[in-house]
Amino acid sequence: MDLELFMQFLINGIALGSLYALIAIGYTIIYGVVQLINFAHGEFFMVAAFMTMWGVSQYGMQLGVAFPLATLLVVGLALFVDRTVYRPLREQKTSSFIGAISISFLLQNLFVVLFTSRAKPFPHPALLDEVINFGTVALPVVNIFIVGVAIVMFGGLFFLVQYTDMGRAMRAISKDMEVAQLMGVNPNRVIAFAFIVSALFAAVGAFMYCSKFPYVDPFTGAIPGLKAFIGAVMGGIGSIPGAMVGGFLLGMGEIMIVAFFPDLTSFRDIIAYIILILFLLFRPGGIFNVRMREEKV
């Protein structure tokens, strides 16, 4: 493989990796504070993409209006689901899994019923379709945006977690919920806040992802959601740097498989699952070897 072709794959790998990392943050934040795998995260992603598309195509909104509205809606949805489903089931481990699975299933099917399962084009700024050429290497503008947005989001998250009261409370809760409560942290508020952040990342991730792969249908969230989840597990679920690194490596790895082993292209989802299983079996703490609170079954 010549250098130019490799550069091309590298550019795509960086973009896809950043996307997975963005989405993976949503899983890891929730897992960090409640030890819940939010199966519905991919569906929050889908709802954000779908509602943005719907606002533009149905009500003729500007993208700059439709996307913030869709984001608000998803944040509201996440809070609603947390309050009505996850919170009542918080003490029951298996039931909360089932709750999360059923919410994911419910949202997918709700959107199939409301909007049919036909894929619809995702409206995105024409600027993002441009390509900058460096000799024979093409750099899609959308990739620059993805990486830029990811860096800004990660920076914001770092500041939030490290330097704000809410961030401190989140870290405290994830270390030891009881002691955090004794110190005056209200876990329900912190968890709700975690859902807000997670939904925000889902929405931004959805916008960037669908600008790159510009179609939406009710199952749009499933595959990126799953890949991001695998990324989060790779890095060590519950850890924010873990999700960034894991998501990035998975996206990069996926592109590199296509680059170096084109025969395995159709096996890349299988490979992703195998990575997931191997990590859970042999290194459940992920690359960063995150140790979570003792789980209550």
Partner: protein, 354 residues
């Protein structure tokens, strides 16, 4: 059970015999549509009871049903499809010589489907059942998806995403009800044996169970492999009744459907599972008619595809939030139960099947 084991087994055999005779008669006299619904009910019973054994009784939440059923379905379809019918399905690909000319009778094909599902179940369970909670759930889910993706990517065996058509209908209501009956009876026997008591112990408290000298891992694996076998059989019959198999049938949605039935029935109860499978099958058929586009009073209704799944997912959320004990909780219909009812007052209803 404890007082009169022989009497109870006797009754079970008689009732089972009657059911099979009824099934035989129903097959030839009932409307094919009704027979199809009954077939689906029986197949779902087989799947749900297997789910109840692993989750309800042993307390291991696994999500591999769809993949295991796919193993059975593909085995049975490939072995029972006549060679020339195979050529019709395999348009882009020549079938692998191993299966190209195979044509087996149904029974060995079904059994092989079950055995292969059990072997795969062991391969999944052996590593996964050492894990707990989230990890177990995800690993089994991942394995199930791997099976489906492998089926898509092995076109010389499975015809890839296009699936197989024209699977000959060699089974029938007698087969499906015999499979359901056998699963229920054997699972019930297992649950009420010393193994079953160990399994329930594992569900309640793993550490205490281990302390009494029960090999946790062996028991969990036993329950999982046992149930995988029947899921494989159910999958094989599923392919028989549908007449086609393709990888899409075995998406996680199938596992969720089985899980929904088991929870509706009350997760620890075989009778509840049987009942819930019936309700699910019938409700699913009723909703199917709402999904289809049709004319009502001269208006053109476009139909609502996806409505069934939506209704079931709403039901699942409501069950898990407000009615975790489902229809039956942990109770069972049993001969002893019927007898105790009979002693107290005149019989009200038929006691169900066990």
């Amino acid at each position: 059970m404890k007082n009169m084991p022989s009497g109870n087994s006797y009754m079970t055999v008689i009732l089972g015999g009657i059911l099979l005779v009824v099934a035989y008669i129903a097959e030839s006299f009932f409307d094919p549509y009704i027979v199809r619904i009954l077939n689906m009910w029986m197949i779902y019973i087989t799947m749900v009871v297997s789910f109840v054994l692993v989750y309800g009784i042993t307390g291991q939440f696994t999500l591999a049903h769809a993949g295991l059923a796919a193993i059975g379905a593909y085995t049975v379809s490939l072995l029972t499809l006549p060679p020339d019918a195979k050529m019709v399905s395999f348009l882009l690909q020549t079938p692998h010589p191993l299966i190209a000319n195979a044509q087996w009778p149904l029974l060995p094909a079904l059994l092989l489907g079950g055995v292969l599902a059990a072997v795969v179940g062991f391969t999944i369970g052996a590593p996964a059942l050492r894990l707990h909670g989230d990890y177990l759930l995800i690993v089994t889910f991942g394995f199930s998806e791997i099976i489906r993706l492998v089926l898509i990517n092995l076109p010389s065996f499975t015809n890839g995403a296009m699936g197989l058509k024209g699977v000959p209908y060699l089974s029938g209501l007698v087969w499906t009800s015999a499979a359901a009956l056998l699963t229920v009876v054997l699972t019930n026997r297992l649950i009420n044996s010393s193994y079953g008591r160990a399994l329930k112990c594992i569900r309640e408290d793993e550490i205490a169970t281990e302390a009494v000298g029960v090999n946790l891992y062996r028991h969990k694996t036993l329950a999982f492999v046992f149930s995988s076998f029947f899921v494989g059989i159910a999958g094989g019959l599923f392919a028989q009744v549908l007449g086609t198999v393709d990888p899409n049938t075995f998406r996680p949605a199938l596992t969720y459907a089985v899980m929904t039935m088991a929870i509706l029935g009350g997760i620890r109860s075989l009778s509840g599972g049987i009942l819930a499978a019936g309700i699910y099958t019938v409700a699913s058929e009723l909703l199917r008619s709402v999904e289809a586009p049709r004319m009502i009073f001269g208006y053109d209704f476009p139909g609502l595809p996806g409505l069934r799944q939506l209704a079931f997912s709403i039901m699942l959320v409501l069950l898990i939030l407000f009615a975790q004990r489902g229809l039956m909780g942990g109770r069972e219909f049993s001969w002893d139960w019927i007898r105790s009812k009979l002693k107290r007052k005149a019989p009200e209803k038929d006691g169900g099947e066990q």
